[in-house]
Symmetry: C3
Amino acid sequence: MPKRDLISPDDLSLEELTALLDLAAEMERDGGRDLCAGKILATLFYEPSTRTRLSFESAMLRLGGRTLGFADPGTSSVKKGETIADTARMIQAYADIIVMRHPLEGAARVAADYADVPVINAGDGGHMHPTQTLTDLYTLKKARGGFQGLVVGLCGDLKYGRTVHSLAPMLARLGAKIYCIAPPELPMPEQALREARSAGAVLGETADLDAVIGQLDALYATRVQKERFPSSEEYERVKGTYVVSAALLSKAKPDMLVLHPLPRVDEIAYEVDDDPRAAYFEQAANGVPVRMALIAALLRLTGETVLAEARAAEPSTPGRARPRAAPEVCANPSCVTNHEHYLTPQFAPVPDESRLVHCIYCDHEVQA
Amino acid sequence: MPKRDLISPDDLSLEELTALLDLAAEMERDGGRDLCAGKILATLFYEPSTRTRLSFESAMLRLGGRTLGFADPGTSSVKKGETIADTARMIQAYADIIVMRHPLEGAARVAADYADVPVINAGDGGHMHPTQTLTDLYTLKKARGGFQGLVVGLCGDLKYGRTVHSLAPMLARLGAKIYCIAPPELPMPEQALREARSAGAVLGETADLDAVIGQLDALYATRVQKERFPSSEEYERVKGTYVVSAALLSKAKPDMLVLHPLPRVDEIAYEVDDDPRAAYFEQAANGVPVRMALIAALLRLTGETVLAEARAAEPSTPGRARPRAAPEVCANPSCVTNHEHYLTPQFAPVPDESRLVHCIYCDHEVQA
Amino acid sequence: MPKRDLISPDDLSLEELTALLDLAAEMERDGGRDLCAGKILATLFYEPSTRTRLSFESAMLRLGGRTLGFADPGTSSVKKGETIADTARMIQAYADIIVMRHPLEGAARVAADYADVPVINAGDGGHMHPTQTLTDLYTLKKARGGFQGLVVGLCGDLKYGRTVHSLAPMLARLGAKIYCIAPPELPMPEQALREARSAGAVLGETADLDAVIGQLDALYATRVQKERFPSSEEYERVKGTYVVSAALLSKAKPDMLVLHPLPRVDEIAYEVDDDPRAAYFEQAANGVPVRMALIAALLRLTGETVLAEARAAEPSTPGRARPRAAPEVCANPSCVTNHEHYLTPQFAPVPDESRLVHCIYCDHEVQA
């Protein structure tokens, strides 16, 4: 059976997504049952991320497997100039499955293209972080049983907040509704919102959290990530605009979930931690069974088939053939194709947007 | 049964201490017998320390458990500004027990307060390093059978040497006597010496190692830690004042133990390594069975009860209630309460010193 | 049985080398069979090296053992000034076998002299990297069945390329022939070539790769290592001189192996990756079974004896006694004896060169 990877949430069909969330619940209930005994997971972190790295390592250890890798590019061959493709072809000899975090957008896709073993994207720059999305969905499903009709407020820095960009279309696909709550200078990008909007899942876009808090079944607050801001002035102005406090929660439904991908800085006051609606530490803990399920499914060790042979086609996308009028280079300076020169930029049509194509590595869109 | 932590040697009653040292001897004799199979130890090192980190990891692996963590704050979420409390609540989902080294005094106490899993302090700034103290005591007991009447010379930099601060009161409590041997500018702080002094366990304080060497059953030399000195001039002046040499040992008892927490710089000449009295490498090796015993006991996996339900009260301390006249902030700039702003400074009475209170995080004393 | 180490390929007799390569083939075929269950490998990397470190860790995990260590001197006690000797005596208490990479030449020899457990040299500055040599030989033997009469071209930076320095004499000893292909300013050092030359195994030295490519059974290309060059001008001039391309391969034998220790920079064009003669990723993968065999053999866990009690004497070297006229210090500034001052420089005769002695740590030669 050909290998599968998880680079973007779109790699999964809705059936696969549902099967993965069910398997995660089974993992949480029954433990890892040594499913991955004798298997090795490589964690290749070209950017530091304690939370994500340790949750993957914990997941693999709880499955009875073992781990190796690096937490920091300073201790890797990167300094000797090795390409992602060569690193992927090296590491596949040392491990049975690869987890990669990389600052370049599309980097994990390149690793998946070159490695014979499954690759999981643990964050590629500002592009995708699919296991965070799976964890977010698992947390909602565990608390509410399902997604149909749920009203989720995505709040804070929606422009730079990578997690909400992939959460919004998934929520729409699963039948939930969303509010986008952000200051005018940090709106959700149109590209991230398009699918939800065309599905009629966007209830509104507002800068006023107070006005909608009472309607929400879940409030998904995002960290104001200093490292994503162009200037520290812009950071300071926005930081603290949408602080979740006890006062705010007094206006919310009594069972509204407060979610946050963590780490928080000032977005959620410490007083909220003791509120039963605070679900962000539970959410962080959920990352372990979700990643256990994903690792076991990608290694085909679950007994039943969770992931089909081939990955889900992008919705309505006929193929990845390069359109005739595609540009020669990707205009996104953080795209991996602008840094790894053995790669050929490739573009695919954007569904329902005949004027646009998107880079198949970083998903940056341009006029066709 | 409620969880236990080890933040300070004072967390252990004398009975518990004895039981732990006995369990360590059993570990050294019989190995780890897979007591921790399926368990995960997290090593959170916000400051580098090869020796301590690797001895904990070796201990856990020899118990059949597994490890994850970070060795360096540069590869952690610390750079994103996450608090100790939040990190503790995250890591408890990834591991069954936490080992933490942190530059702030009181940091491990905070982690223990917030994590649901046991926390071991592997060094919190200049404050405590209780597993070093346990290892020192285990080494003495293994070589001499017990502590009653032993004469131990604590030698070198007693002002900045964290290990001797917690060793002195423990030795006194166990019936040993001590000499403090230090240059006048680097004396043992009164606070560290108080308990031993009031127990009549301090035989003398002197700058003259030669004068007392003949009376010692053990000489505990300490590293002159460059990183603890305010200036490199002060470091250079003191370095080498108390070098343990073959000439010095010719004046010592034929069975006097030479101990050192390692790494040494120049405090012990290489010629001493071949002297049968040199016990410092054995002492380093003893760190493994001691930490095996501690981990197994904290995880309640030893079959018998080593640690009681609640930790030992501080000697003669009626409680940790805040005295009426306590200060609003801790005067120690390295205290964790001055860096993590969700914490409320708290002070407790100092036994037999009615004029004093001490910070319950860093133990800094001030007038009540 | 006394412990064995692997510091230099010369530590192995030809019988031992053959037995190791056979054991590696068995490891590749049958897996690690949990031979190292309950054993711990320490990886002490004072210089970063992802490839070497991860291949050792993968090997130990595939043998059912466990690993600990550091990947970076910044996270070790090195900053506190600990010597290699003291580190070795500490780590032997935490692990059953030690792998060390260190920038100083002779460093691993020092660790082996002080540790009671086996030590494997994973690279000591520009001196030796014996497991790379074993991997290179395993790759050749696996592809060709043996070495007798094989013609191997060593190509590129032969002056600074550590791997070719130990490969050349081993190939000669095993019956292969070599061409040295290098620009005039980067020739193979005479010292590295002496044994092969006196065995009549050197077919030629040339700057012209094109002229000899048709005669080669294997082309061993080496990375132009920027960090080994005295200036970036020298680096830029040489880089790219011997690029292996499809055009070049059109002149080569249809079954010539293309080898490279990796990581490559520009020495092998990406187009060559799809050529069936490209063997460098297979070579990288071979590092795992080779290291599995070595670890299991050094730990004496293989059932049969692979390594004799004592290591092979250096060819024709009567002993390591210090010659009467030996210098007081080693003239190589990167020699470990010039940095770790408890060491006494020692020199041994050079076989068949009565005027020369070599440092027993770094192998630097001087007039006796």
